[in-house]
């Protein structure tokens, strides 16, 4: 990136910049896409815990398929929905690794439901970041398992008809019913205050892994301005006015030890 050299007047100190775990590669996301914020929060957690040299990320199939470009960490790209099984293999083979998967709602809650549920039920000691943007981004805006009732997508052009396609899957609520998971929470990044809360949650999900507590999943409500067909600022209103009504924020399970 062409970092334009700017003269910083004396007396000023940097209080915010790019986390070290992020590479210089530009994101491949659309303008205003929340994937970018969530990705940065992961890098901040890696920096804060000092685990860059032992972290292995798993890129899913979806808009974040290029995730491996964005971090200075080892990475593997998994088949659509299989990230939790791949994470299981990595972590079981080498428990010293810090393993995280990053998955969209189609990846984690449709095609990968079985892999996700069973990794959670086994209490696998890795971290899952689950981006719930209520739509299939990469393939052009089709209905996701999390698409809201009445929401228009290219495969629900009249709006999601619950009589035809049922209701959104509240996978975090489902996972919170299981005995094994250490931490299941739903967060959002639609404003700076919530970004801070999401940051803390992601940090906790990684710290849990370091402490051997087992399966931690952070669901993050996100926008897909491109397929919502909304300007990015307006798409954020969708989160508070619609998505949060169906997917309330907060911790769903915190196993205290």
């Amino acid at each position: 990136m062409s970092q334009v050299s700017v003269e910083i007047p004396p007396g000023y100190q940097k209080v915010f910049g790019r986390p070290r775990a992020l590479s210089d590669a530009p994101y491949t996301y659309c303008p205003g896409c929340h994937h970018g914020i969530i990705g940065r929060l992961i890098a901040e957690a890696i920096d804060e815990l000092g685990i860059q040299g032992r972290t292995v990320g798993i890129a899913p199939v979806g808009c974040s398929v290029f995730l491996y470009r964005f971090y200075r960490c080892d990475f593997i790209q998994a088949a659509h929905g299989r990230a939790c099984a791949v994470a299981t293999g990595l972590k079981r083979a080498n428990p010293d690794l810090i393993v995280f998967s990053y998955q969209g709602d189609g990846d984690l809650a449709a095609i990968g439901t079985a892999e996700t549920v069973h990794a959670a039920a086994r209490g696998e000691n890795f971290t899952v970041i689950f981006v719930n943007n209520q739509i299939y981004g990469m393939t052009g805006g089709e209905m996701a398992p999390t698409t809201l009732p009445g929401q228009r997508t290219v495969t629900t052009p009249q709006g999601r008809d619950v009589a035809l396609t049922g209701y959104p899957l509240k996978i975090s609520e489902m996972l919170a019913q299981l005995d094994a998971p250490a931490y299941i929470t739903r967060q959002s990044v639609h404003d700076a205050r919530h970004v801070q809360l999401a940051r803390k949650a992601i940090l906790k999900a990684f710290r849990n892994q370091l402490e051997g507590k087992g399966f931690s999943l952070v669901e993050v409500l996100a926008t897909c301005p491109t397929n919502f067909r909304m300007p990015p600022v307006e798409a954020q209103k969708w989160v508070t006015e619609k998505a949060m009504q169906f997917f309330p924020l907060g911790d769903l399970k915190v196993r205290d030890e």
Binding site: R54, T55, V56, Y68, A79, R82, A85, E115, V117
Partner: protein, 351 residues
Amino acid sequence: MSRVLMRGNEAIAEAAIRAGLKCYFCYPITPQGELVEYMARELPKRGGVFLQAESEVAAINMVYGAAAAGVRTMTSSSSPGISLKQEGISYLAGSRLPCVIVNMMRGGPGLGNIAPAQGDYFQATKGGGHGDYRLIVLAPSTVPEAAQLVMLAFDLADKYRVPAMILGDGMLGQMMEPVELPPPVDPSSIPEKPWALTGAEGREPNVILSFDLSPQGLREMNRVLQDTYREIERSEVRWEEVETADAEIVLVAYGTMGRIAKTVVERAREEGIKAGLLRPITLWPFPYEPLRELAERVPTILTVELSAGQMWEDVRLAVEGRAKTPFYGELGGVVPTPREILSEVKKHVSS
């Protein structure tokens, strides 16, 4: 080294452990239950990871993760389960990750049955999943050979960074034979894997991918695969020949059928029929050259299979009209007796 009486399934499991297997992932299916049970019992005791997955899809993707971490890893199943694993196998091949997959074939298609069959030959040798890739496919016909080929499969997989498959069936899996197992491999003799995901401490990150959106880039990835496959074809073809020197008819059969065909050759010879056998040990790479050479001087090459004629296609590709290429096969898990095959042989020889 002592000889022990073992079932095929158990010998495969024990050989894998001795080959340095670290992570084994499975989903139960007959007829390879003893293999799973043996692993559950033995592998954790010997420092490995045994994990029963929620499906074959999950099991093969766990293999994908463990292989990426750089350890020796394996899964086993039977036909319907192997079908489910095809997605993961394609990813393993595309990402150049070594592993061993055992398929104890059963009757198909669909749920089929659990009887010995060889209907997965196409799936195993021609790709199985999507994309241009191959597996090294090893087809043991006895229990000792199964143990030996499992150890070889790990070495070849690591050497070429490809998945390798052991293709057997329930008859091999259940059969008990005395086996002389080699000692466990010295872990330090297993080659280093500098590409493995071990954490990027002090080095540039390693990235494991099976995709490249640019056609030029993906073509390059494919070329690396194809170059590897050509090298394997040059160096790793394995087969056994029995009584072929003066043969008038040569049977081609592998695995369980290869074993039965050996008996047929003995009986034929007792009756004065100059029969021989070529038994492919690697189904891929297929022994095209040795078969072609035989076809130069043997008038009849009879393929015998527990399928409708899948390997037969490779036999005909090898022979290319140089000899007659009749076929004898059974379907649905029915195993022909040596006598039945012998009478087929007699149809093709001038007495």
